[in-house]
Amino acid sequence: MTGVLLNRLAQALLVMAAVTAIAFAMFRYVGDPVLIMSREDATPAEREELRAALGLDAPIVVQYAKFVGRVAVGDLGISYRNQRPVAKLLAERLPATLELVAVAMAIALGLGIPLGVLSALHPKAWYAQAIQAVSLLGISMPTFVTGIGLIMLFAVGLRWLPSFGRGETVALGWWTTGLLTPSGLRSLILPAVTLALFSITLIMRLVRAEMRDVLASDYIRFARARGLPRPYIHFTLALRNALMPVITVTGLQVGSLIAFAIVTETVFQWPGMGLLFIQAVSFVDIPVMSAYLLFVGFLFVAINMTVDVLYAIVDPRLRSGAR
């Protein structure tokens, strides 16, 4: 098991190295930072001075090392677009995105697992067929279409819920939360549901497939042959086996939710990191783009590591060392 974790750690470092390299390459090669950062009427001499001041005349490896060093202490550069430190910009936007993703993930697990189990236990029942049909529709609806549809229905048509923004927020230190005010909660509903929809479908389909496999396995047949009560077999024995892969997929899903938050935040004008990123992409604001990439890369690595550790704790085959 330590072998597995070490392997994973090496992989994590590899991912981080790749991500920092891409971020650095973006920084260094996409557009000339000197041209972008100097005044319009700067003389060539002034530009060379700036180039030296930025360390852009040093060998590339040194520049990369310095870049990594700066990133490590949280210096992510200055946004081209609004001339503010990128780290600050990200920190302001972080709570909005994380709250959105956390709520969406909770919805996805809370609905996806029970629906998956239900349709695996009674695959022939009308509701299982219905769930299956709706789930196909779910994976066929792009997030932005779902979002626009929900806005048209609940915000424009019924006027029940707000269609954009976070509503009122409360500051807890540097963290701002929308979870503590009624308007914040109301604003959260549509974006969170929109974001969760795809994941609900995915988790539901995974749980259903896993559960069906497990129910057909020899050890469940053996449990049935020993006459154990059905609810016990289904919910205590089989469910635990079926949920093992869900751990991995949940980890991956958190990642994809953060990525898809870009779309949701665009549709709902939600002031999170995704909106910041998409604006940066359209303005070619490289420091913001690369910082976002670094942040998401780091988050991914952290999530994957957590999942691996969790898996190793939950699965006895890994816990005591695989043979």
């Binding site: 991912v15 932005f144 990525a259 898809f260 870009i262 665009t266 998409i278």
Partner: protein
């Protein structure tokens, strides 16, 4: 042989009809939306012909530029399908080749291919595609960006999707290599290329086709999302996603059709492909469920 369920047959028919109409758009569409001469600002934002205020000339109404929406959708679907299909073809070609090589030879080659795949897979499709297309836009001069856009999109989507093929084909290849018909081929002395092409490839193809079908739906969605976010096809050569992006700006003013019909077309098309893909997966390869 089990019979094809009715729902799958209908979905398949819809998918084929949609794809055929879209591909034939230049011959069947009433107007050419990429031709600036067809823009008619006087006719802009007309509702569909079956709604009060609509005109018979424009069955689904017009967009903000006065383009015929039906034509724009047909051309847009064509763009979406060509980009989606192109991305699937590129990803499949790359992924199957690398997967076969990794699975058959193993060793460092396998390790390198799979680690690169792991890194790529640890970033979601949409993020990677955004980065690639964002970077490409920064590197390519503005004037050329419109004509490059489809290829950038194909590359941006395929760069992520090939991993899925590579993983599946590698796993399948590793199973097949252990199977006795391949070992028999080795004992006969056949060279690796021949074993891969003549023996292993035909036996892993069914998985590839299943993934490709499901992937086509995914690739079309990704393209639509990118275009919706404004980093995909430009409004002058709109895909379905671009049309929805344009329409989204008018949703609040009650001009719903510009977003609605492209979105409907997109969802119906993707749903039809997904239904067929889902059935294929259950039928031919129930083990492939890790794909959405």
């Amino acid at each position: 042989m089990t019979r094809i369920p009715k729902s799958v047959a209908i979905a398949g028919a819809i998918a084929v009809a949609l794809i055929a109409t879209a591909l034939l758009a230049p011959w069947v569409a009433p107007a050419d939306p990429t031709d600036i001469a067809s823009y008619n600002l006087i006719d802009s934002e007309l509702p569909p012909s079956f709604v009060a205020g609509g005109e018979a000339r424009y069955f689904l109404g017009t967009d903000n530029q006065g383009r015929d929406l039906l034509s724009a959708i047909l051309y847009g679907a064509r763009v979406s399908i060509l980009i989606g299909g192109g991305a699937v073809a590129l990803a499949a070609l790359l992924g199957v080749t690398l997967g076969l090589v990794a699975g058959y030879f193993g060793g460092w080659l396998d390790a390198v291919i799979m680690r690169v795949g792991d890194v790529i897979l640890s970033l979601p499709t949409i993020l990677l595609a955004l980065l690639v297309s964002g970077l490409a836009r920064a590197l390519i001069p503005n004037a050329a960006s419109a004509s490059w856009a489809p290829f950038i999109l194909i590359g941006a989507i395929a760069i992520h999707e090939w991993v899925q093929y590579a993983r599946t084909v590698r796993a399948a290849t590793m199973v097949e290599v252990q199977r006795e018909y391949v070992r028999a081929a080795k004992v006969i002395g056949l060279p690796p290329l021949r074993i891969l092409g003549r023996h292993i490839l035909p036996n892993v193809m069914s998985s590839v086709l299943v993934i490709a079908t499901i992937n086509l739906a995914g690739a079309i969605l990704t393209e639509a999302t990118l275009s919706f976010l404004g980093v995909g096809m430009p409004p002058t050569y709109p895909s379905l996603g671009t049309l929805i992006r344009i329409g989204n700006e008018f949703v609040f003013s009650g001009i719903w059709w510009i977003a609605f019909f492209p979105a409907l077309t997109l969802v119906i098309g993707v749903l039809a492909v997904n239904i067929v893909g889902d059935w294929l997966r259950d039928r031919f390869n129930p083990k492939l469920r890790s794909l959405a």
